[in-house]
Symmetry: C2
Subunit: 265 residues, 2 copies
Amino acid sequence: MSSPKHALLAETLRDRIEHDVYEGGRIPSEATLADEFQVSRTTVRAALNALQNEGLLRSQSGVGYFVRRFQHFVYRPQDDFRRTKDIADVKSLTGAEDPDPDPFIKAAGARKAEYRFEVTMVPATGDVLRRLRVPEGEFVVLRKRWRLLDGVPYQLYDSYYPRDVVEGTEVMEPRDIPRGVYQVLAERGHAQVRALDEIWVRMPRQSEVDRLKILPGTPVAEHVITGFTAEDRPVRMARVVLPGDRNVITFERTHPDHESETQSD
Amino acid sequence: MSSPKHALLAETLRDRIEHDVYEGGRIPSEATLADEFQVSRTTVRAALNALQNEGLLRSQSGVGYFVRRFQHFVYRPQDDFRRTKDIADVKSLTGAEDPDPDPFIKAAGARKAEYRFEVTMVPATGDVLRRLRVPEGEFVVLRKRWRLLDGVPYQLYDSYYPRDVVEGTEVMEPRDIPRGVYQVLAERGHAQVRALDEIWVRMPRQSEVDRLKILPGTPVAEHVITGFTAEDRPVRMARVVLPGDRNVITFERTHPDHESETQSD
DNA sequence: CAGTGGTCTAGACCACATC
DNA sequence: ATGTGGTCTAGACCACTGT
């Protein structure tokens, strides 16, 4: 009926962490805990390892274990749609000479927002192929974007476009598009009028751990946006990978009945 | 420059799993791997433990390690809004005598959907208090719901209502409301016309591990929905906890410019 | 019964951070 | 130099699953 020692220890530590027992979020050393609970260091490590995987602690080699603190960024996928309309507002609000209207930068607030870009042509595979309804092996344009706040990576934002839709436009260049991508798509006769959002949750791959500089035990959300024209052709797919310790995804919506009511008024 | 043995072993195993090297998803025993890679059993366990925490493997005591397989449920928060309109459709489609129009049941398809309910009054605390804008300590109505598919818990769905809004209605009873909650709210003069969705990602608490029967290394999404009336009063807050290995959250939206275009047509 | 994973120990050596 | 976490070993005993 009784739990193993490492589980009991983990339970005790979870409790202490929740009640802020440890000054400055600093957990006692492995040796100290082993001594206090009369168990081997290996058992202490098993407990601490579990807490790390739950995202409660982080360890720093040669220093110690610390309680993790979080600061979330509020990510609003709907803002991307609204971009072009807001350019004037941003200019008037910030007084910036050359305001960057990217919604990520607008939402950054006091934190320093930063980008990295990379544009390539890749053969469509897997879910990209399926979502963009492109023949196997056909090349699509991939815009890879890193979104950083105060030097910390907050999001990986990769967007895919069918080749014919964006070829010869500034979408092919690795820099921000002040007009907004939707403007460019519209000018080419592929205005995006509808989007489907899919969100799921998983543990990160090794490549994402490296790109996002996340600690072990940090889950990620994968957010895939597929954009459609009025003719229901998919013209854009974006895959956003968001570390769970740094992001909140938000949506706003109105009741469909209410919409029709107001329309029938 | 070289990685520790357990990391190299984990890397090798990740690769083998991805390339489906192991028949039937069955991983060799710890002893076998220790022998093959010439390391101690402890080192093998460190590698396998890491893969479990990444959600790639599950272990079964006394049996062995297996590759994990996933079957996702498509969760559409917007369906909840549409509920009352669809009752007739469900009846005509399924031919059921007493069709249950809950969107979760509709979306279950061939899988057997199941519920558990619990209704209580609790003092508002933390984010519930903040989101429902209720004075500290004031009691709110809590509807706790478990949503199961084929006996497996897929979602914890807890919804909170200000006491005055639902007192004396069937919302206080621990069973499904065929009319839909939105209908009840509307009849009480608190029609919900707008909702805010917030989604984030984290590792589960112990209580959630128990309630959802999830394996170690499974992250969860927390989805909080706050519903507002036309007067901007929050009348409903729901907290949905979704195990990452079983759910995809989806939204559909239309381009705001497009909406205004069609309205101005 | 044999084989599997789960628990636990004592002890060793290393790299790294801090003083 | 000291203390910290990171790695790794060999070996022991247990509980559980399958035949």
